[in-house]
């Protein structure tokens, strides 16, 4: 356990190094947020929806703020797979799955906090209807945070599955691209899940992708009442367990059949 904790800590520190790139990233992400909010304002002017525009804006900003949590990948690991250097990691006296799980968890957590917190601060300052609103209630905020933690567990598990698959195909771009698209679409980043057709809602909110950011955001904005929290946590924890088990199984199979790239 201590080994994994120190991996986690080291990775956190590493992520803190790239502060320069961070500012450019924040500005860019903010710009995307503003464009999206502007688009929804125009759409709402044509046909208003049940969900108020303030909530849509909050949804967009939270998605943008935690975007890094979703898309951050362990570039080192990709390179190691490609060059064959992953063989060194096989020699470590730790479990490979959890070794990489803690690394990616640290990367996603720190990356999104560093970008997300300043972005949310700015988003709060924007005029009403354009910026973020305060949480629906204090308990909504805390249940959202708790759900975000479980969402992070799911996200890291999904990331490790993608890695396991690209270890077999050796070509991270194809499969990773497709899985990434599924994630961006069904997590609500491309279009808030609340704006998907009503008939789809029952299914898409059950998918693992909705557990990542959609569920926490809906708790935050009061779309889901706090009384639903136990149910949501059970759903998230269930998906996290399934995805982690699947990931461990895939990694174990890879480990047995591993052919190291020479070079």
């Amino acid at each position: 356990m201590r080994a994994y904790l120190s991996v986690f800590r080291m990775r956190l520190k590493m992520e803190l190094q790239y502060r320069g790139a961070m500012i450019g990233g924040i500005v860019c992400q903010m710009f995307f947020g503003i464009v999206l909010v502007a688009l929804y304002h125009a759409l709402y002017a044509s046909k208003a929806q049940a969900m108020p525009i303030e909530s849509v804006a909050t949804y967009v900003w939270l998605q943008q703020a935690f975007f890094r949590m979703m898309v951050a990948t362990d570039q080192d690991l990709y390179d190691k797979i490609k060059t064959g250097n992953i063989s060194y990691d096989l020699c470590r006296p730790v479990d490979m799955y959890w070794f990489y799980y803690t690394r990616i968890a640290a990367q996603k957590l720190m990356g999104s906090l560093m970008r997300g917190i300043p972005m949310m601060l700015v988003a709060f300052l924007l005029p009403k209807g354009w910026g973020m609103t305060l949480p629906y209630s204090i308990s909504g905020l805390f249940s959202g945070l708790l759900a975000l933690f479980f969402g992070l567990l799911c996200m890291c598990a999904l990331e490790n599955i993608t890695m396991a698959i690209s270890m077999r195909t050796l070509d991270p771009k194809g499969i990773a691209g497709m899985l990434g698209l599924l994630m961006v679409t069904f997590s609500g980043n491309l279009l808030p899940l609340t704006l998907f057709p009503d008939s789809w809602q029952k299914i898409i909110t059950m998918l693992p992708y909705a557990q990542l950011l959609d569920a926490p955001i809906r708790l935050y904005s009061g779309e889901y009442p706090v009384s639903d929290l136990p149910l949501i946590i059970i759903r998230q924890a269930g998906w996290a367990a399934v995805l982690i088990l699947l990931g461990i199984w895939l990694w174990e199979r890879n480990r047995r059949k591993m052919i190291i790239q020479g070079g």
Partner: protein, 266 residues
């Protein structure tokens, strides 16, 4: 003419070399299809929920989306050297070898990359264009075809020009600058919807600084018989030229920038 010949030769060579890895190529091309399909799905869902956007119908929106996809991905297909490879060429010092050869830097950079996987993205864009044109009941005539062709060519030049900004920054700071993405990829996201729905600052940004509105929205609106801001017909053929203008200015700046290039030494 010699330059063009060189470019076509390089493209042929690069294409053949990329097609050597058939299965990987097919996988990645499919992945591109799914990705761009996802973008289109978002537009479909938006139209499904909101039906129209101000005075633009669903069909109009497909047309705008299609025009953006086609232009953007043609640029990425043929201009891969600028849109993708350049930052790593600077970082790895690969650019040094280009400086030694008796050809323009930009020509060589353009000749260095092609991205045939984008073909499926272009196909999605064409589908959206056809769908949009059918749904908006466009009555095509020779003028409209010309306007569309000019719009696509000029938009490609504009997009290539905007990607050059990243190249220029890159020469000065070595690291690729994420900020520039706001203009290129941000422009793609924003301007796949017509410009007149946005608030004034965004309108100014995408009309004056990065004139997507002039190269795409003015001609597209004319083709669908809903002239943007009610501008007269001659503007349809004049405003897209701003794409070439932006490209020319940035090529000039790029060539000046290269003079300041210092190799990373690796």
């Amino acid at each position: 003419m010699n330059t063009l010949h060189l470019y076509i030769r390089s493209m042929g060579m690069l294409l053949r070399s990329q097609l050597q890895y058939t299965s990987s190529f097919i996988m990645q091309t499919l992945a591109q299809l799914v990705m761009e399909g996802g973008e289109m799905l978002a537009v479909i869902l938006v139209i499904d929920r909101f039906e129209s956007l101000k005075h633009w119908t669903g069909g109009n929106l497909f047309f705008f989306f299609g025009l953006m996809s086609v232009s953007f991905y043609i640029t990425e297909f043929f201009g891969r050297g600028v849109t993708g490879n350049f930052p790593s060429m600077v970082r790895s010092g690969q650019l040094d070898t280009l400086l030694l050869r008796p050809r323009g830097i930009l020509t060589q950079v353009l000749c260095s990359g092609v991205d045939p996987r984008r073909i499926t993205c272009i196909a999605v864009g064409v589908t959206a264009l056809v769908m949009g044109s059918n749904m908006s009941r466009v009555s095509w005539n020779i003028l409209k075809v010309l306007a569309l062709a000019e719009s696509i060519v000029m938009s490609c030049m504009l997009i290539l020009g905007l990607f050059l900004i990243e190249g220029i920054f890159c020469i000065h700071s070595v690291k690729s600058v994420e900020l520039v993405n706001a203009l290129t990829y941000g422009g793609r996201s924003a301007c796949q919807y017509p410009i007149d729905i946005y608030p004034r600052p965004l309108k100014i940004l995408f009309t004056v600084l990065a004139p997507f509105a002039l190269t795409m929205h003015v001609p597209a609106a004319y083709i669908m018989d809903k002239p943007l801001y009610g501008w007269p017909t001659w503007t349809v053929f004049v405003t897209p030229l701003s794409g070439a203008l932006v490209f020319a200015i940035l090529v000039m700046l790029f060539n000046r920038g290269v003079k300041f290039y210092r190799s990373t030494g690796s």
